[in-house]
Symmetry: C2
């Protein structure tokens, strides 16, 4: 008996989850080009890395990723308890992650609670008229250390 | 010479700052009634206290304030680097705060980085037809410890 192919969900929530997945993948691949594509490049975007002061504006935020990626050889993540909320053209995602960062002289493990805020923006089609539509772009990232132990569960 | 009274700013950003001030005041006065008035009472609101797991839904979030307020005798705060962004009916505020909490058996000082997310909701007039309009209600709070030291400045 033929089974019907699963219908692709294309809700705003699903699009936000995909945007957030791109953020993990950019981290895991230490890809500055992917970070460039994920963030909105405005002077009001903000970023708090675990234990860092808040960074304001794309220039500072990008410089922090340059610094993190250049000092890290490998970053592995286990993602838990992803939670998404969409309100019009703004959405936010909360999750926990167990990060293992490998540096030249050792490695570090941390349990992190993170919040990402995205805004939906119109994207024009390319020169050949392809693409376009809307895209969820990252405008705020707040990550903070949790006490070590079992990854927490959203209750 | 008569001076003109300062014109009250009534921009969305100003309204969000005032909503966030109500949040500090609720903390400083350990007032559960004020917390009740500030938050949206939905099962999707979320809260991360410094070092705690994420709490989901107003019931859990409110229970956490009950617990914090009942074990705290006094909470004093110095607020730094408040930063606000409004996008339509959603807004977020980032700031740092130096919190001194006094308990029955001592006190604790912490430097905290916090993000609040608000949504703007219609509020109906009361039975006598007064009030109504819109109100910014808190839907997400993420507070995390920063290393002790001088309060950081947004650059």
């Amino acid at each position: 008996m033929a089974t019907r192919p699963a219908r692709k969900l294309d809700t705003p929530e699903q699009s936000v989850r995909e945007a957030n997945h791109r953020f993990y993948r950019a981290l895991a691949s230490l890809s500055l080009a992917d970070m460039d594509a994920i963030w909105l490049h405005e002077d009001w975007v903000e970023c708090v890395h675990p234990g860092w002061d808040m960074l304001l504006g794309w220039e500072e935020v990008r410089a922090s990723w340059v610094r993190i990626f250049s000092s890290t050889q490998r970053m592995q993540m286990e993602i838990h308890s992803v939670w998404v909320r969409v309100e019009g053209d703004v959405a936010w995602v909360a999750w926990t992650e167990q990060i293992t960062s490998t540096f030249e002289r050792g490695f570090d493990q941390a349990l992190v609670q993170a919040t990402n805020i995205f805004v939906r923006r119109a994207v024009p089609p390319d020169a050949e008229g392809h693409g376009g539509g809307t895209q969820w772009l990252l405008v705020a990232h707040h990550a903070s250390p949790l006490p070590a132990g079992q990854p927490p569960q959203v209750q």
